[in-house]
C-alpha cells in the first residue's frame, strides 16, 4: 500500500543532488547518531510507560488509592506527554534512519503500530467519554472487601493459566497450534487478573478500570512487539515465509520481494545483516552475512559504524 512512499523516504528524502544520499542512507551509515536516537527511543520507555502505567494502576484502583485521579493526572501527565513526544520524534527518526522498508514489511512493526493506535484511541475514549463522569469516582470510595471465595477463584484462574502459559514454552508442537494456545492462555490469564482487580474495587466504575487495563495492555504490547522487530523470524526473504502464507500476506511480501529483485532504488544488503540479525544465541536462524560490514561502511582507518544486535541490546 505505502511501499512506494516508504521507498521514497529511504531513497530520496533529503537527497538534494543526483550524487547525494538520502537522510535514511546517511543515518544508516552514521557512526553513532542513529544509535543515540534509537537508544533514546528505548530509554524514554522509563519515563513514558513508567508514568502512564502508574496512572493506569490508579485507574484500576491498585496504586495511589488515596489520591484523586485528577490530581495524579495533573502532576504526572505532563511528564508522560513530553516523554511521548520524545518517543514519537526519536521513533520517526529511527524509522527513517535504519531501513524504512524493512520496518514497513515487518509484522512486528505493523503490530506495534496497530497497538499504538489502539492505545491512542483508548486515551481519546477515556478523555472525551469516560472522564466526563469523574466527579463520581475521582476519589475511590471506601468499600468493604468483596466475597473472598469468588476472588480466590479468579485468582486461581490467573495463576493456573499463567503457569500453563510458561510451561507451554517448554512443550514442543506445531508452531501455529502452540501460538494459538499461548494467545488463548494469555487472554484467559488477563481476564482472570482483571476480574480479581475488578472485584477488589467495586466502588470504581468498570469502564474506568477497563480503560486503565486496556491502556496498560496496549503499551505492554507496543513494547513487546517493538522488541521483536529485531528478530528475523518472518522476514520476507526467509524460506519459511512462503508465498501465500499468513505472514507473507500480512507483511505485503509481494512488493518487498519485487522491489529487491527489480532495479528500483539501491538494494541495501545489510537489511538482513547486522543489527536486525539474530544473535548467536540459538533462538533462530542466523541470517547469512550477519557479521559482514555494510557495503558502504566507513574507511578502514575509522571504526566501522556500530551495528546494534538484538538480544544484546538490554
Amino acid at each position: 500500500m505505502l511501499h512506494d512512499f516508504v521507498n521514497w523516504i529511504r531513497e530520496d528524502l533529503g537527497r538534494f543532488t543526483e550524487d547525494g544520499q538520502s537522510w535514511s542512507h546517511q543515518l544508516h551509515e552514521s557512526l553513532f547518531m542513529w544509535n543515540i536516537i534509537e537508544g533514546t527511543h528505548v530509554l524514554t520507555i522509563m519515563f513514558f510507560a513508567g508514568t502512564i502505567w502508574m496512572i493506569d494502576l490508579r485507574m484500576m484502583g491498585i496504586a495511589f488509592k488515596n489520591m484523586p485521579l485528577s490530581k495524579l493526572s495533573d502532576r504526572v501527565l505532563p511528564i508522560t506527554i513530553i516523554s511521548l513526544m520524545a518517543m514519537v520524534v526519536t521513533g520517526v527518526i529511527a524509522f527513517v534512519g535504519r531501513d524504512p522498508l524493512m520496518y514497513y514489511h515487518n509484522i512486528w512493526f505493523r503490530l506495534k503500530m496497530v497497538f499504538l493506535v489502539a492505545a491512542m484511541i483508548n486515551i481519546l475514549w477515556f478523555h472525551y467519554r469516560v472522564q466526563k463522569s469523574d466527579i463520581a469516582w475521582d476519589v475511590i470510595p471506601p468499600m468493604s472487601d468483596p466475597l473472598p471465595v469468588k476472588k480466590a477463584l479468579w485468582l486461581g484462574v490467573f495463576i493456573a493459566s499463567s503457569f500453563a502459559l510458561l510451561v507451554s514454552f517448554l512443550i514442543p508442537g506445531d508452531p501455529w497450534v502452540m501460538s494459538a494456545a499461548r494467545i488463548l492462555l494469555f487472554v484467559v490469564a488477563l481476564v482472570g487478573l482483571f476480574v480479581v482487580i475488578h472485584k477488589r474495587t467495586p466502588g470504581l466504575p468498570l469502564v474506568v478500570k477497563l480503560s486503565g487495563a486496556l491502556s496498560m495492555l496496549a503499551w505492554f504490547l507496543v513494547i513487546i512487539f517493538g522488541r521483536f522487530i529485531a528478530y528475523d523470524w518472518f522476514y520476507c526473504e526467509k524460506e519459511t515465509t512462503t508465498p501465500g502464507s499468513l505472514m507473507y500476506v500480512l507483511q505485503e511480501c509481494d512488493s518487498a520481494l519485487a522491489f529487491r529483485e527489480g532495479d528500483v532504488g539501491e538494494v541495501i544488503e545489510e537489511e538482513v545483516t547486522g543489527e536486525e540479525a539474530v544473535p548467536d544465541d540459538g533462538t533462530g536462524e542466523s541470517v547469512e552475512g550477519e557479521e559482514a560490514p555494510a557495503e558502504d561502511a566507513a574507511p578502514a582507518e575509522t571504526p566501522a559504524p556500530a551495528q546494534p544486535a538484538p538480544g544484546e541490546g538490554n
Partner: protein, 276 residues
C-alpha cells in the same frame, strides 16, 4: 574494562562462563530467548516509573502533596516488581549470552551502574523518603559508595570509543529532570540542551550524518563535556537557590543521582547491542 579482564587470572572463570548456556534449566530456554528480552524492557518501564515519581517527589516536584513516607510505601511494590522482572529476565538473558557479555564493555558499565543504582534506591533515596527527607550518616556513606561506583561506570563509558556516545543518555535524562523540577532553571536547561545537542544534530544534518571526520567527532566530544558542565552548574544553582525549601539540597542531589544511575544502567544495556 570488561569482566574478562578482571577475572582473567582466576582459574576456570572463562570455562565457567562459557558453560553457562548449557546449565539446566537455562539450557531449556535457548529457543524462547526473545520474550525474556522483551519482558526485560517491561520490567525496566515499571521500575522506571516508580523510581522517577519517588525521586521527583524527593526533589519537591511531581506529587508534592503526597507525604514522603507515603510516597515511598506506594511506589515500593512497583519498584520491587519491576526490579524483580528485570533481574529474573536479565539473569536468563545474561546466562544465554554469557561469553559475549563477559567480554563486553557496556555490560561491565551496566553491572557497575546496577550496583550503584540498587544502593541508591534501597540504601539512600528510599531511606531518605521513609525518614521524611532527613538523612543519616549511614545514608551518606551508602551514597558515597554508590556515587563512586557510578563514577567508575561513567569513566569506563566515557573512555570506550564505541560506547562513549552513550553518555548522551544520562546527560539528557539529567536535563529532562531539571526541566521538570527546576523552577528557576527550567528554561535555561531546555535552552542549553537545544543549543548544545540540537546544535550537534543540526551540524551532522548539514555535513551529512555519515561523515567520518575526527574534527567533528572532537566537536561532538566537547559539546558533550560542555553539556555536562552546564548541567552541573544549572543543577547546583537550582538546589542552592532552593536550599530553604522543605526538600533539602542533599535529598535533591541523591534523588538526581538515583535517576541518573538507573538511566546509566539502561544505557549500558542498550549499548551492549550497539558495541557488539
Amino acid at each position: 574494562m570488561t569482566f574478562e579482564e578482571i577475572f582473567k587470572n582466576v582459574p576456570g572463570a572463562s570455562d565457567f562462563v562459557a558453560s553457562m548456556p548449557k546449565i539446566w534449566p537455562i539450557s531449556l530456554l535457548q529457543d524462547i530467548y526473545a520474550p525474556f528480552g522483551a519482558l526485560h524492557l517491561v520490567g525496566l518501564a515499571l521500575m522506571g516509573g516508580a523510581v522517577i515519581l519517588l525521586n521527583l517527589r524527593l526533589m519537591g516536584a511531581g506529587l508534592k502533596e503526597e507525604p514522603l513516607p507515603q510516597m515511598e510505601r506506594t511506589t515500593r511494590p512497583w519498584f520491587i516488581a519491576g526490579l524483580a522482572i528485570v533481574l529474573f529476565t536479565g539473569i536468563i538473558i545474561g546466562m544465554l549470552n554469557s561469553e559475549k557479555l563477559y567480554n563486553s564493555v557496556p555490560f561491565f558499565i551496566k553491572m557497575t551502574s546496577l550496583a550503584s543504582a540498587c544502593i541508591f534506591s534501597f540504601g539512600v533515596t528510599n531511606a531518605i523518603a521513609k525518614n521524611d527527607g532527613r538523612t543519616s550518616t549511614g545514608v551518606l556513606v551508602a551514597a558515597g559508595i554508590a556515587f563512586l561506583l557510578w563514577l567508575v561506570a561513567l569513566g569506563v563509558l566515557g573512555s570506550d570509543e564505541i560506547s562513549a556516545p552513550g553518555l548522551f543518555h544520562p546527560l539528557s535524562a539529567g536535563y529532562a529532570i531539571l526541566a521538570i523540577f527546576g523552577v528557576r532553571t527550567r528554561w535555561f536547561a531546555v535552552g542549553a540542551f537545544a543549543l548544545l545537542f540540537g546544535g550537534m544534530f543540526v551540524m551532522y544534518w548539514i555535513i551529512g550524518f555519515n561523515t567520518y571526520d575526527p574534527f567533528y567527532d572532537d566537536i561532538s566530544r566537547w559539546l558533550t563535556v560542555a553539556g555536562a558542565a552546564v548541567f552541573a552548574a544549572l543543577f547546583g544553582w537550582e538546589i542552592y537557590q532552593s536550599r530553604t525549601e522543605a526538600s533539602t539540597p542533599t535529598a535533591k542531589l541523591m534523588a538526581m543521582f538515583s535517576v541518573l544511575t538507573w538511566v546509566t544502567v539502561a544505557a549500558g544495556g542498550r549499548w551492549i547491542g550497539f558495541a557488539s
